[in-house]
């Protein structure tokens, strides 16, 4: 052997073995190639259909296009509810293999609370495989920048754009407009699964809820080609969504603001109605809430948090708050007496001491303190004086001669005990008691003493601020009914419902005389004595237009016989409710308003100024608009 290992050619001799082995190598290679060709044939010819289908399923996805929700405007075209496009983080359920890993990635991008985490877990569990589950809504620019920088690390987290509902006036109109909320599993049981496929929100409260059908619109379908990570590459077929109808409300957001500010931080409600149309111009309930949290929040806890508050901001006091009507019931009772002819405008009762006793009873019913000295009655009192001075004694006398069922039937015509609104589904009917009602609810008969409470608006009778405003509307219209409504117009006309027949049994002269008396509440009072507790003292001394109205002060707790009501010594929640309704101008009313302030004290002192502020503002605006 060569130690230099230089090339030392060994000639190749093609022996039998070499030829044989080289040939077998060629055969083996051919067989292997044939094997591959056979495999290709199997995949591409025999099983072609299957793989072709698979490839199509890979690339084509049907997506639903949620329709843009209809907008909600106030009467002057201000947006009460609009839509905005926001960037949100989402993940497609089937792309999540490790939820803990996903959560780690999310936390690297945005702040993510434990509540959000548990909500995300629940929603992921309930989602369809190809559904985009929202992780965080309405990303800030900074969060978007962080996502963009880290996109390669978190391939399965997507930034998508969502159309979100927005309520520009936040707390101000929330009790009217309501809000949308995330569709929950329970919602899906009664929502049309086709129509709501792809919708994330449904109207939950207020107008958003009542006009859901109009506002929602019709879903669209889009077939798209997607790549391996689910990014849409092209559109194959589009059946566009039909946007929801926009609607306009009677609401005047500026008037709403005036009412809201007039009420201030007090708990209570203000409702203003256009007596010509029944359109609700303002409907304030305080405290209120920002409906936007139901839209962007994903935890599902916002509702619980708000419901847990002692001052119940979610509770719509204007439509659901029930209060004793107090003296605001008196003009109606007077009308009842006139209607059944047990009284007339001439009839007088003597009130020497401000006290009243039912025949055969020791119990003394007292009037409120008319004079500064706190003693003495109002003398000879006819109906007119009984209204503007709010005499209890007069109505005790009336209550002694008229039975509850007559009162009750008459008051039913005014909307007592009914939800008379056309498009406020959850407005409370209040309570209009009668003999039967009392038996059913207390097991006891109606006693004469119940009548005494009834005629001064205490006892079982309860009324909502909306009902009080409706009553004001009926007075303004001299008995003619226009039912309260929120909707002014929609793209396609909506049949809201019939109005009621006018209040029966009261002649026109009675209406005019009663309205005179209500006007005297504001303009006459007991002039010269400012502390007499009448509305005139608080709103009537500088009023440039004619306004009619009636105050009420409703006791929350019974004051034992012989004891004085001392506001200072009572805890706040036991203090009297302040009520007032009014309308103006008296001869051609354009606005009727009612307000209730919970535990707000005297109606004339506290509630009447709110009504006046609202009417002042509306009339100023009304005159300005009509002068143009």
């Amino acid at each position: 052997m060569s130690t230099k290992r230089a090339y030392d050619p060994v000639p190749l001799v093609l022996s039998k073995t070499i030829v044989y082995r080289a040939s077998s190598a060629a055969v083996v290679a051919s067989v292997l190639i044939l094997l591959l060709v056979a495999r290709l044939f199997q995949l591409q010819v025999v099983e072609h259909e299957r793989y072709a289908t698979q490839a199509t399923e890979n690339r084509l996805t049907t997506q639903t296009i949620p329709p843009p929700r209809g907008l909600i405007f106030d009467r002057k075209g201000n947006y009460l509810a609009s839509n905005r496009i926001v960037p949100s983080l989402a993940v497609i359920k089937e792309n999540v293999d490790d939820i803990d890993n996903l959560l780690t990635n999310i936390r690297a991008l945005v702040d993510f609370s434990n509540a959000e985490e548990s909500s995300l877990r629940t929603r992921l569990e309930n989602a369809e495989d190809d559904e985009k589950v929202i992780i965080k809504r309405d990303l800030t620019d900074e969060q978007l920048a962080i996502e963009a920088v880290n996109r390669h690390r978190f391939g399965n987290i997507l930034v998508i754009t969502e159309i979100l509902r927005e309520y520009p006036y936040k707390e101000l109109a929330s009790h009217v407009v309501g809000s949308v909320r995330q569709i929950t599993v329970e919602d899906l049981q009664h929502l049309d699964p086709v129509r709501y496929r792809g919708s994330k929100f449904v109207g939950r409260r207020g107008v958003e809820h009542y006009y859901e059908d109009l506002l929602h619109g019709e879903i669209g379908i889009r077939q798209v080609e997607v790549n391996a990570v689910g990014r849409v590459m092209s559109e194959i077929l589009v059946d566009p969504a039909t946007r929801g109808q926009s609607i306009t409300l009677h609401l005047d957001i500026e008037l709403q603001r005036v009412a809201d500010e007039a009420l201030g931080d007090r708990r209570g409600a203000v409702v203003a109605i256009d007596p010509k149309t029944g359109g609700i111009l303002a409907l304030v309930s305080k405290p209120s809430y920002d409906p936007n949290v139901f839209v962007t929040g994903l935890e599902g806890r916002e509702y619980d948090r708000l419901s847990a508050r002692a001052d119940a901001p979610l509770f719509n006091r204007a439509t659901q708050g029930k209060y004793p009507p107090g003296s605001t019931i008196k003009p109606l009772l007077g009308m009842a007496g006139l209607a059944v002819n047990v009284i007339d405008w001439e009839l007088e009762f003597d009130d020497p001491r401000g006290e009243f006793q039912l025949p055969g009873s020791e119990y003394v019913y007292r009037d409120w303190n008319w004079r500064k000295s706190g003693v003495g009655g109002q003398g000879q009192v006819d109906l007119f004086r009984a209204i503007y001075r709010s005499s209890n004694i007069y109505f005790f006398h009336l209550g002694a001669v008229l039975d509850i069922d007559t009162f009750s039937t008459f008051l039913g015509q005014w909307g007592y005990g009914h939800n008379t609104s056309l498009d406020i589904l959850d407005a409370d009917p209040g309570i209009l008691p009668n003999d039967t009602w009392k038996k059913e609810n207390t097991g006891d008969s109606w006693y004469p003493g119940d009548n005494m409470n009834f005629v001064i608006g205490q006892g079982f009778t309860l009324v909502t601020p909306l009902q009080l405003a409706t009553i004001s509307t009926i007075f303004a219209n001299r008995g003619k009914w226009v039912r309260p409504r929120l909707l002014l117009s929609s793209e396609q006309p909506v049949e809201l419902g019939e109005d009621f027949p006018p209040v029966q049994g009261v002649v026109e002269s009675d209406w005019e005389r009663m309205i005179e008396a209500l006007t005297a509440v504001v303009h006459r009072g007991n002039k010269g004595y400012l502390q007499n507790g009448l509305a005139w003292a608080h709103i009537g001394r500088n009023i440039p237009y004619q306004m009619a109205g009636k105050s009420g002060t409703a006791q929350v707790v019974a004051i034992p016989q012989g004891e004085e009501y001392d506001e200072e010594s009572l805890p706040e929640e036991q203090r009297k409710h302040a009520l007032f309704f009014g309308f103006a101008p008296v001869h051609d009313p354009v606005i009727a308003v009612a307000t209730v302030i919970e535990n707000g004290g005297g109606g004339s002192e506290n509630a009447a100024p709110i009504v006046r502020e609202v009417i002042d503002s509306y009339l100023a605006d009304f005159v300005a608009t009509n002068d143009e």
């Binding site: 030392d8 060994v10 190749l12 093609l14 073995t17 591959l36 995949l43 072609h48 890979n58 391996a228």
Partner: protein, 380 residues
């Protein structure tokens, strides 16, 4: 052994190039034509697979030209030159493989690349398709084609060292192809079948020992996953499902060039590199896939034929070695894409995007041409 080879011949003169190459420029028209057809076809498919990027095609075109240059150059060198330089080339490759082990660049879970300053990054394991046939041919020739037991032990060490290094990168596919390539070389030069039986027994005995004592836990895990892609449904399993879907959905004549949805919507991973045949299958269908495989078979046949026409044993051994290893790459790659073999991450020679594989494959063709067709060393 030594059944096929004669005794020593006279020594040749040592010229770097074959003498008077003006007249005898070595050139096999059949092989070159087949290679060019394959390259052209590959570029067309790559144009689609790269998303119709001209810059990518330009890059690949430059690499292919470089490869063709290597082929031309390598085919002009003398057999004796290859013989003399075989140990050096081998040692150089081993050095580079150690360098990969120490300073290599990791990508997709294995460390195969070397990024030396001033050079484009490359895979030293690709050089083994040349240096391994050369060293095996050299060794057998120095033993005058008479191998004794100790020679087999030496061969096992010579082959085992680089193959082991490749295995540890880990690049199981290349390691396996190299081992089978060397076995095929020995088979083709007439080693008695009992040695192969002995080899099998050796593998059967050593495999459990290597498995348990040489391999670390992650080696074992990777190999298990290799054979159970469903254990890794978003990794290797995903690749196989998507490549089969791509190929199968292509049907008989394909969806048309640039029309492959699997490829262009990123369902198919590595569409321009290891899984290029799936793009061909999807866009051009069974007809062109089969044609492509036939083309590979023709290249294989031509190279085998050229090896049998070699006038010397060294040329025959080296030529068949290069041919078998080339074929091994083709088969393992296509079988992997079609779901017949585990996904091991190998390119399809001459078609896949990338420089190392194409250039070394063409250089290997050049070497095969040189050692199989040069007659001067014997004639002189």
């Amino acid at each position: 052994m030594n059944e096929g080879f004669g005794g020593r011949s006279t020594r040749a003169h040592h010229h770097f190039f074959s003498g008077s190459y003006g007249q005898t420029f070595k050139f096999d028209i059949v092989l070159i034509t087949l290679t060019l057809l394959l390259l052209g076809f590959g570029l067309i498919v790559l144009y689609s697979a790269l998303g119709q990027s001209w810059s990518g095609i330009l890059n690949q075109g430059i690499r292919l030209c470089l490869g063709l240059g290597c082929l031309m150059l390598a085919s002009q060198l003398r057999v004796s030159t290859y013989f003399r330089w075989a140990p050096t080339v081998y040692a150089g490759t081993i050095l580079l493989l150690f360098a990969v082990e120490l300073f290599g660049v990791a990508s997709k879970g294995s460390q195969r690349w070397l990024d030396l300053p001033g050079l484009p990054s490359f895979q030293p394991s690709e050089f083994l398709k040349i240096s391994l046939p050369l060293i095996v041919g050299w060794y057998i020739t120095t033993r005058n084609f008479k191998l004794k037991s100790l020679d087999y032990l030496a061969l096992i060490l010579i082959v085992g060292l680089p193959t082991g290094l490749v295995f540890l990168q880990p690049d199981y596919g290349t390691a396996l192809i190299l081992l089978i390539g060397v076995a095929a070389m020995l088979f083709l030069c007439g080693v008695r079948l009992r040695w192969f039986a002995g080899g099998l027994v050796l593998v059967a005995i050593s495999a459990p020992i290597i498995w348990n004592f040489v391999f670390r836990e992650y080696h074992r895990k990777r190999i298990i996953t290799l054979f159970n892609p469903e254990r890794d449904p978003l990794g290797a399993g995903w690749n196989i499902i998507q490549s089969k879907t791509a190929v199968g959905s292509g049907g008989l004549t394909g969806k048309g060039l640039f029309e492959g949805t699997q490829s262009h919507l990123d369902f198919l991973p590595e569409g321009h590199t290891d899984f290029i045949i799936a793009v061909i299958g999807e866009e051009l269908g069974f007809v062109w896939c089969a044609t492509l495989l036939c083309c590979y078979l023709l290249i294989f046949s031509r190279l085998m034929y050229l090896a049998t026409t070699a006038t010397n044993g060294f040329g025959y051994v080296v030529g068949t070695g290069i041919t078998v290893i080339f074929f091994g790459y083709v088969f393992v790659n296509v079988a992997m894409v079609l779901g017949l073999l585990p996904v091991v991450g190998l390119p399809l020679p001459l078609v896949s995007y990338g420089g190392s594989s194409a250039i070394t494959t063409m250089a290997a063709f050049g070497v095969a041409l040189a050692v199989c067709t040069h007659k001067q060393d014997l004639e002189k």
